[in-house]
């Protein structure tokens, strides 16, 4: 996709009367960082970029913005919000529509077919970050890192984020404006991360997750970054009743992580944001993908693909599997 086309489209959309702002990606403050940008007019669109560093799922902001009571005498601003989405992000929008978290009329979806983003941590490990912002481009079969004069070719397998390796929806499933040509879709591949854990025995699994969950600092960034965790009144914040205590220890962390993963069963669209933002590097994606796989294999359901579908946990089929029932 050409950057020019993206910026031109964003400028057009931002200038529309009925659009509040366009949420896109812009260059971050240093190194490999990319920050979400909120573009209110055509002039701002020049900041926007789309590169293998655009990992953030911007659909989060559709539900994150606080809805305050409108002061008396003023009118509510019900203009649309335009959001740029990759394939996985578009599934979040679709799932939000399924759950009626947002209305179709509230949002303009700008679709960006995505050949796969890099794993920022892996990247920084292999090619240390510097204070200058660095550009990365997609090439035929990998990435091109442009650092000043220097250009480094990197193969796709070396840096591709785990979620992208498993991705089957690189093209937005829903969009109002589509940028560029669709990219090639890939077949379902086995999720090695999940399989690796499944192959351990119960005690080893327990030990593995104990180690992981014990690291959690309960900053709730995984919850907040998730486009589908948007309850106004989260069960984790509640004190009355207190389902999960606020103390940070292994037991409560497990309860929190299970609650979080479970609330995403049949809803997680595998954008991998929770895993990316976790300051403790807990492999949350594995939890989510395990559930997503069970939902797909056992119940034949895939969230965020069809905006007209019924929500998974609020529907049933009479012949759902029940081999686990005594």
């Amino acid at each position: 996709m050409e950057l020019e086309q993206l910026q031109k489209t964003a400028a057009e959309v931002a200038d529309r009367e009925d659009v509040k702002y366009v949420i896109g990606w812009k260059k971050g403050s240093y190194g490999y960082r990319v920050a979400p940008g909120f573009i209110e007019d055509a002039a701002g669109a020049a900041e926007l970029i789309f590169s293998p560093l655009c990992t953030a799922n911007l659909a989060t902001y559709l539900t994150l913005v606080e809805k305050l009571p409108v002061p008396r005498g003023q009118e509510a601003d019900d203009r649309k919000v335009a959001v740029m989405v990759k394939g996985c992000d578009s599934r979040a929008v679709a799932q939000l529509l399924v759950e009626k978290g947002i209305g179709r009329e509230e949002v303009v979806v700008i679709g960006c077919p995505c050949p796969g983003v890099v794993d920022p941590e892996l990247l920084a490990e292999k090619y240390p970050e510097t204070e200058e912002t660095v550009e990365i481009k997609w090439t035929e079969d990998g990435f091109l890192l442009v650092r000043g004069e220097e250009e480094i070719e990197i193969s796709r397998d070396e840096l591709l984020a785990e979620k992208c390796r498993l991705c089957r929806y690189p093209n937005p499933v829903i969009s109002d404006v589509m940028l560029g040509e669709p990219v090639e879709t890939r077949e379902l591949v086995e999720d090695e991360g999940v399989a690796e854990i499944e192959n351990r025995d119960v005690d080893e699994r327990a030990a593995y997750w104990e180690e992981q969950f014990a690291k959690c600092v309960r900053c709730y960034s995984c919850r907040n970054v998730c486009p589908l965790c948007y309850c106004q009144d989260c069960i984790l914040d509640r004190l009355n009743p207190t389902w999960v205590n606020r103390a940070v220890n292994f037991s409560e962390n497990t309860a929190f992580n299970i609650a979080r993963a479970f609330h995403l069963a049949g809803r997680c669209i595998e954008c991998g944001e929770c895993e990316r933002v976790c300051p403790a590097n807990i492999p949350l994606g594995r939890l989510n993908r395990k559930l997503a796989r069970e939902v797909r294999d056992k119940y034949g359901f895939e969230p965020g693909v069809d905006p007209e579908a019924e929500p998974f946990q609020a529907s049933f089929k009479p012949d759902d599997p029940e081999d686990f029932i005594l």
Binding site: L68, V217, C219, P279
Partner: protein
């Protein structure tokens, strides 16, 4: 006591001499992420960049039992804090943060837990020879070898560590190491000074704080707050991982009839933090919360305790999931002033 030298191969022996005290060191649990108690017989490695979770948790644990009691009874049992603790390899910025936070915990009424832990701890610092990308300690009154809050400063001189005792606690520690140490000659001291200068030069990021404490309240309604907070997720990463953030929540937790009142880190970036029971929230959106976080560090704290509550460790920049960069925010503040 003047500066001493410790050969690197004698580092394990040095650690052994500290037996009997509780040792905390970075990454001791096999993960370079945080400070953790060192298991006996283990020698902590000191080749690390700063930990993700600051060592504040050694003095102000993420969850701390204040007292425990049986449900229905009236007796409360307090924890006995008496273990002498040594923190190994604390970066100068984190040690400075301890002195800053201590001002609040000693303000008017002493916080018994923090003050007690602070008294029992000996902080062994490790000067930075290779500061991180987002370090800006030199802009907020610190430096790669700042000694504030430290009892003992170690400088890595290649084959040796240069040890300088800064307080009585530090000297006692050096004395206990005894014959492991050699007196440092003037060359070593010179080398240290050179290293520190070099490290300072490596720090690229800076903030200008002049006029900020006085000026911030005047920017109350400035559009910059909306701009910088638009992408904020409202998570607690920046505050939990900040060495000077010190807010906490108090909760009663019960298991069977055993109950305890404990406190845990809290974050002003959470909506629940200021929410009144009535449903009214004085800081209803991320804009107010971001404004409060920055103002508290750079203005309110300066008013009350005469020091900026930010030590420039760069953690909030490194780990913010959406690249909210405090250096950039302060640049914008400066422009708006």
């Amino acid at each position: 006591m003047s500066a001493m030298l410790l050969k690197k191969e004698k580092w394990p022996e040095f650690v052994e001499k500290l037996a009997g005290k509780k040792l905390w060191a970075p990454g001791a649990d096999g993960d370079a992420m945080r400070f953790a108690p060192v298991t006996e017989g283990e020698t902590p490695a000191l080749d690390f960049n700063n930990t993700r979770v600051p060592p504040k948790e050694a003095l102000f644990p993420q969850t701390e039992t204040m007292y425990r009691f049986q449900l229905g009874a009236e007796e409360m049992e307090e924890p006995q804090l008496e273990d002498e603790t040594v923190l190994l390899g604390v970066r100068p910025c984190d040690a400075r943060a301890m002195t800053i936070v201590e001002k609040l915990f000693r303000w008017d009424i002493d916080d018994p837990y923090y003050v007690k832990r602070r008294e029992l701890v000996t902080v062994v610092g490790l000067a930075c020879s290779d500061p991180g990308l987002n370090c800006f300690c030199t802009s907020v009154g610190g430096g790669p070898a700042s000694t504030e809050g430290l009892d003992l400063l170690m400088v890595d001189l290649g084959d040796n560590y240069l040890l300088e005792a800064l307080t009585e606690k530090g000297e006692t520690l050096l004395e206990s190491a005894g014959d492991l140490l050699e007196k440092a000659d003037s060359d070593a001291v010179k080398e240290k000074e050179k290293l520190v200068l070099e490290a300072e030069k490596k720090i690229k990021r800076e903030v200008k704080t002049e006029g900020v404490p006085e000026g911030l309240p005047g920017l109350w309604e400035d559009p910059l707050w909306q701009n910088v907070s638009a992408s904020c997720l409202g998570c607690g990463t920046c505050t939990y991982l900040c060495p000077t953030c010190h807010c906490f929540d108090i909760q009663d937790e019960t298991e069977g009839f055993e109950s305890r009142r404990c406190r845990m880190w809290d974050s002003c970036m959470f909506g629940e933090y200021t929410l009144h029971t009535s449903g009214h929230n004085p800081r209803p959106t991320r804009r107010e919360r971001t404004r409060n976080r920055i103002s508290h560090k750079y203005s309110y704290y300066v008013d009350k305790f005469d020091v900026i509550a930010c030590v420039g460790c760069g953690r909030c920049i490194n780990l913010c999931p959406v690249n909210i960069d405090i250096v950039e925010i302060l640049k914008k503040v400066e422009e708006a002033l």
